[in-house]
Symmetry: C2
Subunit: 215 residues, 2 copies
């Protein structure tokens, strides 16, 4: 092993952190794969952990439930994107929604490198209520993040109503985009990823809320 830093000025991710990230990713991948092959209900934590080579007890050190392991994507909005948005120009509904669409699509593109896994997870969510509920809870967590960012950008209080509403509208749009991507063949033709669909949904939203809507 060379002693040189992998990347100068990096947070110096130790061996510990690296292994932890990897184990987490493997548990997630194994959960999705096994659930696709045998059905979510048939998969037990014991199977998953055996597949990865850890003890069942360890599984729960990484995820609070089987459901949570399915949707390991979509964590907190990374600081880089958050800053990019918060420091953007314009406090109007238009500008804010446009920029939200941008960073959310980017976030999705980064956080979900493997569309096949997202596709599988979504199909499972359709049939298993508890999985759908977990997905929605993760979306809501992102929504909270967004509300804070919007407040930061517009200079309004972090629990303001406008920020809350806009965050809700944005996440509803994201969910719609993901849903539509999932419903239309999705992974069959590699043409479009979920991120592109989300962008399209934000365009549709724009049209829907445009001046024409005021009749």
């Amino acid at each position: 092993m060379t002693v040189s830093d992998p990347q100068p000025s990096a947070p110096a991710e130790g061996l510990r952190a690296r292994r932890r990230r990897q184990t987490r990713a493997e548990l997630h991948a194994a959960t999705v794969r096994l659930a696709r092959e045998h059905g979510f209900a048939q998969v037990t934590v014991e199977m998953i952990s055996k597949e990865v080579g850890v003890s069942p007890r360890t599984f729960f050190n990484y995820f609070p439930s089987k459901e949570a392991a399915l949707f390991a994507l979509f964590g907190t909005v990374p600081p880089a994107l958050a800053d990019r948005f918060a420091e953007g120009e314009g406090s109007g509904t238009d500008a804010v929604l446009r920029d939200l669409g941008d960073i959310l699509a980017d976030h999705l593109q980064e956080a979900a490198p493997e569309p096949q896994e997202l596709e599988d997870s979504l199909r499972i969510a359709e049939g298993v209520p508890s999985v759908l509920a977990t997905f929605l809870a993760q979306c809501e967590a992102v929504e909270r993040d967004l509300a804070g960012l919007i407040a930061r950008r517009t200079g309004t209080p972090p629990d303001g109503e406008a920020a809350e509403l806009l965050a809700g509208v944005a996440m509803a749009t994201v969910r719609s985009g993901i849903k539509r991507w999932h419903q239309s063949g999705a992974h069959a033709d590699e043409g479009e990823g979920p991120a592109e669909r989300v962008r399209e949904s934000f365009d549709s939203l724009r049209t829907l809320l445009g001046p024409a809507a005021v009749q």
Copy 2:
């Protein structure tokens, strides 16, 4: 017991259906009360069913989980309201959102006769992820309903993008209204119920999306 029908032209609700509804309501009420007093995690299905006087096994004939028993409100949109909306005038975003706000506030007013229970359930949801997830899942179920209604009203396909987006926006607004009602003293002063707050949130949404927003 008189043999006269309670209400002429009613579906003649039998003894069976009546008892079933009552048991369901009692299980819900007991769950909320026990969770408020002892904390959700400390309450077991055994306690709840003992409280109501049924077997633990029977509890699961009514609710699929402890969490689901907390939010027995907010079922499907009743046909009367659904028809009122679907047959309303105007296909524009404005008109649709306004009418959605109306029927959803009405629905909330009918479906949640006891604000104290809603208040308690929401506080519990703040601290227990699985309860929050269940709440969100129920909101999403309503959202699906709404999308269908919107499609019916505007003559678009039931899985159209515009209907989906509008339904998402509407439910985000409802959630925001409920949240704000819950956060501001809520039940302390009887002045405002959740339904009024939801109406206010729809007003805020209107302002937010109004012509001014287009800058």
